[in-house]
C-alpha cells in the first residue's frame, strides 16, 4: 500500500512485473477470457455439463503435453507419443476380447516401454536428434500396428467397462478421469520441482556440459526420461480409448502437435531448461476451450484451422512478451 507511494512505478510496469513473477496468472486470465467469449456467443453454454466435458477432453491432451513438457525441458521433443498411445489403446481393445484384462494391460504397455527405451538409447547414447529419433520410432510403431491389425481382424475389439467408466463416467458431476489425472499431475509437478531427477531434466536442458562436469551421466537421464514419457503416453492411450470408444490406427495421432502447442503456450521453452507442468495443464485447457469456441462458430473447416493456428501463434508470442523481461 505504502510502497506505491514511496516508489511510484508506472502501473503498466507494475502489472508486467507481477505477471513476470507469476507466469500462471496471464494464462488463467486468458482461459477465463475465452470462456467468457464462449458464453457471450452462445449464452448458457457454459454449464456444469460443459465444464465436465471440457475437462474430460482436456485430460488426455494434458497428459501427453506432460510428456512434451518433460522432454522439452531437456531440449528434446517426443513425437512418438501419438503412436504409443494409439498402440496401447488398440492392443488393449483387441486383446481384452480373449485375455484377462490384467494380461491385456501388460501386453498393451509393452510397446510403450519398448519404444521409450529405443528413443532413450537413440537420443542418450547415440545422440540422434530427438525429433528424428522419435519420428522414426513413431513410423516404425505405426507400421507394426498395421501388421498386428491383420492378425486380430477376426477377433474384433471391445472397450473394457472400466476404461469407459474412467474415460467418460461422472461421479456427482465430476469426471472420473480426474481420479487418474490429479495424482498423475501431482506426481509430475513433484518430480519436476522436488526430486533429483527433475532437477537434472532442467539442468541437462540448460547446459549439458555443466551437468557432465558435475558427474551427471546424460544417457541415464535421457533414457529414463523417454521411457517415462512413453509409459505416460501408453496410459493416456488407455484413457483415450475409454473416452472415444472407437479403436482405430490413428486414434491419438491428432493429439501430438496440440500437445507440443499446449506445452509451449504453458511457457515451456523448446530450447530446454525453462518451464513447468502447471502452465502446461492450463495450456491444454486453453486449447480445448479454443477448439469448442471455433466449433460453435460454424465456419468451414479450413477457416477454422487457419484461425486456430493464428490464435496459437498470437497467444504464444504475447505470452512470451509478458513473461520475459528485457
Amino acid at each position: 500500500m505504502s510502497t506505491t507511494a514511496i516508489q511510484p512505478v508506472p502501473f503498466g510496469r507494475r502489472v508486467k512485473r507481477f505477471m513476470a513473477d507469476r507466469p500462471l496468472i496471464p494464462l488463467i486470465i486468458l482461459l477465463i477470457i475465452l470462456v467468457v467469449i464462449l458464453q457471450i456467443l452462445r449464452p448458457g453454454i457454459v454449464n456444469e455439463r460443459w465444464i465436465a466435458n471440457t475437462i474430460k477432453f482436456a485430460i488426455p491432451l494434458a497428459i501427453l503435453a506432460g510428456c512434451q513438457t518433460m522432454t522439452m525441458l531437456t531440449g528434446g521433443i517426443d513425437l512418438s507419443i501419438g503412436t504409443v498411445a494409439t498402440m496401447s489403446a488398440f492392443i488393449m481393445a483387441t486383446q481384452v476380447v480373449n485375455q484377462d484384462p490384467a494380461v491385456a494391460f501388460l501386453l498393451a504397455m509393452m510397446p510403450a516401454v519398448l519404444i521409450g527405451l529405443v528413443n532413450g538409447i537413440g537420443v542418450g547414447v547415440f545422440r540422434v536428434h530427438p525429433l528424428i529419433m522419435t519420428l522414426g520410432t513413431s513410423l516404425i510403431g505405426t507400421g507394426c500396428l498395421q501388421v498386428y491389425q491383420r492378425t486380430v481382424i477376426a477377433s474384433g475389439a471391445r472397450i473394457p467397462d472400466f476404461l469407459a467408466w474412467l474415460g467418460t463416467g461422472l461421479t456427482y458431476g465430476v469426471p472420473n478421469a480426474l481420479l487418474l489425472f490429479v495424482p498423475l499431475a501431482a506426481l509430475i509437478v513433484f518430480t519436476l520441482s522436488r526430486t533429483g531427477f527433475g532437477r537434472l531434466l532442467y539442468a541437462v536442458g540448460d547446459n549439458e556440459r555443466a551437468t557432465r562436469l558435475s558427474g551427471v551421466q546424460y544417457w541415464q537421464v535421457i533414457t529414463a526420461l523417454y521411457v517415462i514419457s512413453s509409459v505416460l503416453a501408453g496410459i493416456t492411450g488407455l484413457l483415450y480409448i475409454g473416452l472415444i470408444k472407437a479403436p482405430s490406427l490413428s486414434l491419438a495421432e491428432p493429439l501430438v502437435l496440440p500437445s507440443v502447442a499446449a506445452a509451449v503456450i504453458g511457457g515451456t521453452s523448446i530450447f530446454g531448461g525453462r518451464g513447468g507442468y502447471t502452465g502446461t495443464i492450463i495450456g491444454a485447457l486453453i486449447l480445448t476451450v479454443l477448439t469448442t469456441l471455433l466449433t460453435i462458430l460454424q465456419m468451414p473447416e479450413g477457416a477454422r484451422r487457419i484461425l486456430f493456428g493464428l490464435i496459437v501463434l498470437f497467444v504464444t508470442a504475447a505470452y512470451l512478451r509478458i513473461v520475459e523481461e528485457r
Binding site: 512485473r17 513476470a20 513433484f190 522436488r194 526430486t195 533429483g196 531427477f197 532437477r199 537434472l200 532442467y202 539442468a203 540448460d206 547446459n207 556440459r209 555443466a210 551437468t211 557432465r212 562436469l213 558435475s214 558427474g215 551427471v216 551421466q217 541415464q220 529414463a224 531448461g273 525453462r274 523481461e325 528485457r326
Partner: protein, 524 residues
C-alpha cells in the same frame, strides 16, 4: 586537452527487473586517448559497454558522439557511429572460416591481414575454420577485425585476459598506437601493469555509478583501488603465510600422484604429486598442455599413457563421475562451461547432489538448503539476483562454480584459472578460500594465467612447457620473473630479459620469442 570529446555519455541507467545494473554512469573519451574503464565485478562495466555498443538499450541517459546526440539502437548503429567493441568472448562464428567471417561484417581483408601480422601472428591461414583456431589467437583476430575498419572509438573488454605474454605485449603496443593516431580506445582491464603502461585517464565505476575520473600518473593505483572498493574493503595485500598455515610436511602417501601422463600430442610427459593440505600451482603459457592435464584428471578425456593414482590406488576415469567419486572436482575457468545459467544459485550449487542414479528421488529440501546456505556464506556470494545465475556478476558466478564443490565437501579441487576476468576483491576472497580449503586438509591443484597469484596462494609451483614438467619450485623462489623464465622453458638461474612482466618499460618481444624457440624444451 581542450578538444571536444569523441564520446560523451552521461546519466546512463539500466535496470534488470528490480536490480539496477547501472544507476548514473558517465564516460567521456577524448580524441587520441586510451581511456581505462575500471570497477569491481558487478560495478556495471559490462552493462555500460553493452549499452554503448548497442547490444542492449538503456533505460535513461544521453550519449553524444562528436557532440551529436545519437540513439544507438543496435550493434550496427554503433558501428556506423564509429564505435566498435571487442568482447571478452570470441565473436567469430565457429563453423565458418576466417574469410567468411570477415565477409559477414564486410571487413576489408588486406588491412585485416596487415593487422594480424602486426599483432604477432605471421602465419595465419584465413581459410582455417574458426573452430580449429586456439582461443588466444581468436581473440587477436577479433581485435584485428575491429582495427581493420578503423573505428573512432575501440572498446576492448579484458582484451589481454588469457593471452600469453608475447601476444599480450603486441596487443598493448598496437592499442597504444591507436591513441597516437587521434582515435580513442576504451580499455577495460583488471591488470594495473597494463593500465599504467597504456592509459591516459581512467573512469572508475562503483555500484552502477561513475565515482571518479583520474589521470594515470605513477602511484594512482591506490587511489583507483580506493575508488573501486569505496569504503567497503581495506587494503587487500595478502601477508606471507605463517608457518602454521603451510602445508603439513610431506605425508607418507600423496593424495594424488601423476606419473608420465600423456594426452594426445599436447601433453607429453607429466609427473607430480599432490599432498593433502597443499595448494599446488600450475604455471604455463597458453596451450602447453595444461588444458589436457586438467581434463584428464577431471575424467573428461582419457589419457593416452601414464598413470594417475589417487591415495595410492591406480585410477582410470572414463567419465567425470569417476573422478568425482575419487574426490577430484574440476572447476573450469569458463563459467559458461560449469553453470546452468537459467537456473537458480541453489540448484546450481546442489547439482552434484542429484547426479548419481540413487539420488534421483525426492530431495531432502531442508538438508540441501542448509548445505547450500553454508556454502553461500563461506564464499560470500551476493544473492540479490539468485533466481537465475545469469543475472549474477562474473565474480559471483565464479564463486558459485566453486561453492558447488565446497558444499559437496570435495577432497581435491582442480581449479583452472578461477580468477580470470574478475575483480580484485573477489580474487582475494577466492585466494582466501583456497587456502582455507587446504587448511582443512584438502588439496588444490591451481592453474593460473596471472603469475602474481602464485605467491599468494600456492605452496609449490609446477611449471609446464611444451607438454612436459620443466620445473617444480617451492613458493619462496617463485617470484614473477623466475616463473616467467621457467614458463618460457628457460633453465632456472639463467638471466635473460623476457617480456613485460620482467621489465614493463622495455618491450622485447623478439628476445622473448627467440629465447622460447631456442630453449631445449621448445620442440613439441
Amino acid at each position: 586537452m581542450t578538444s571536444n570529446p569523441l564520446l560523451d555519455a552521461t546519466g546512463v541507467a539500466k535496470n534488470y527487473g528490480a536490480v539496477a545494473a547501472l544507476r548514473n554512469a558517465s564516460l567521456s573519451v577524448l580524441p587520441g586517448e586510451v581511456h581505462a574503464l575500471m570497477g569491481a565485478n558487478g560495478a556495471g562495466k559490462s552493462t555500460l559497454v553493452k549499452i554503448l555498443t548497442g547490444a542492449i538499450p538503456a533505460n535513461a541517459g544521453r550519449i553524444l558522439i562528436r557532440g551529436e546526440a545519437r540513439d544507438i539502437r543496435s550493434p550496427a548503429a554503433a558501428r556506423r557511429a564509429g564505435l566498435l567493441p571487442v568482447y571478452q568472448e570470441p565473436s567469430l562464428i565457429p563453423d565458418l572460416d576466417v574469410l567468411s567471417n570477415l565477409r559477414l561484417t564486410s571487413t576489408p581483408v588486406e588491412p585485416f591481414r596487415a593487422w594480424v601480422r602486426e599483432l604477432g601472428i605471421p602465419d595465419l591461414d584465413i581459410r582455417d575454420t574458426a573452430r580449429d583456431i586456439p582461443l588466444a589467437v581468436l581473440r587477436v583476430l577479433d581485435l584485428a577485425r575491429a582495427l581493420a575498419v578503423e573505428p573512432d572509438v575501440l572498446l576492448l573488454d579484458e582484451m589481454t585476459a588469457a593471452l600469453p605474454a608475447n601476444l599480450a605485449e603486441k596487443v598493448l603496443e598496437v592499442v597504444r598506437r591507436q591513441g597516437d593516431s587521434g582515435r580513442a580506445v576504451i580499455f577495460i582491464s583488471h591488470r594495473f601493469v597494463e593500465i599504467s603502461a597504456l592509459c591516459d585517464r581512467a573512469t572508475v565505476l562503483r555500484d552502477g555509478e561513475t565515482v571518479g575520473v583520474v589521470d594515470i600518473v605513477p602511484g594512482v593505483e591506490e587511489k583507483i583501488v580506493e575508488l573501486m572498493l569505496g569504503t567497503r574493503i581495506v587494503k587487500t595485500h595478502v601477508a606471507a603465510r605463517s608457518a602454521a598455515q603451510k602445508a603439513v610436511p610431506a605425508p607418507a602417501r600423496p593424495r594424488l600422484s601423476v606419473h608420465n601422463l600423456r594426452v594426445g600430442t599436447k601433453l607429453n610427459d607429466v609427473s607430480f604429486d599432490l599432498a593433502d593440505g597443499e595448494v599446488a600451482g600450475v604455471v604455463a603459457l597458453e596451450g602447453q598442455g595444461q588444458d589436457e592435464l586438467f581434463a584428464a584428471l577431471a575424467g573428461s578425456i582419457r589419457p593416452s599413457g601414464g598413470t594417475i593414482e589417487v591415495d595410492g590406488q591406480p585410477a582410470k576415469f572414463s567419465h567425470p563421475i569417476d573422478a568425482i567419486r575419487a574426490g577430484l572436482a574440476y572447476v573450469p575457468g569458463d563459467r559458461a562451461e560449469a553453470l546452468a545459467m537459467q537456473r537458480s544459485v541453489r540448484e546450481n550449487i546442489a547439482l552434484p547432489f542429484s547426479a548419481a542414479l540413487r539420488n534421483w528421488g525426492p530431495i531432502a529440501m531442508r538438508q540441501e538448503r542448509a548445505k547450500v546456505v553454508s556454502a553461500i556464506e563461506r564464499l560470500q556470494i551476493d544473492t540479490r539476483a539468485q533466481g537465475e545465475v545469469q543475472r549474477l556478476s562474473g565474480g559471483n558466478q565464479q564463486k558459485v562454480t566453486i561453492a558447488r564443490w565446497v558444499a559437496a565437501d570435495t577432497r581435491t579441487l582442480l581449479c583452472f584459472d578461477p580468477t580470470r576476468g574478475i575483480d580484485v576483491g573477489t580474487k582475494q576472497e577466492i585466494y582466501k578460500l583456497l587456502r582455507e580449503v587446504a587448511g582443512h586438509g584438502k588439496s588444490v591443484l591451481f592453474y593460473t594465467s596471472e603469475l602474481e597469484e602464485v605467491q599468494r596462494v600456492c605452496d609449490r609451483v609446477i611449471v609446464i612447457f611444451g607438454g612436459r614438467v620443466v620445473d617444480i619450485f617451492p613458493v619462496e623462489e617463485a617470484d614473477e620473473p623466475a616463473l616467467m623464465r621457467a614458463a618460457y622453458g628457460l633453465p632456472r638461474g639463467a638471466k635473460a630479459d623476457i617480456g613485460i612482466l620482467a621489465d614493463p618499460h622495455c618491450s622485447s618481444p623478439e628476445s622473448a620469442s627467440s629465447s622460447a624457440s631456442t630453449s631445449p624444451g621448445a620442440t613439441p
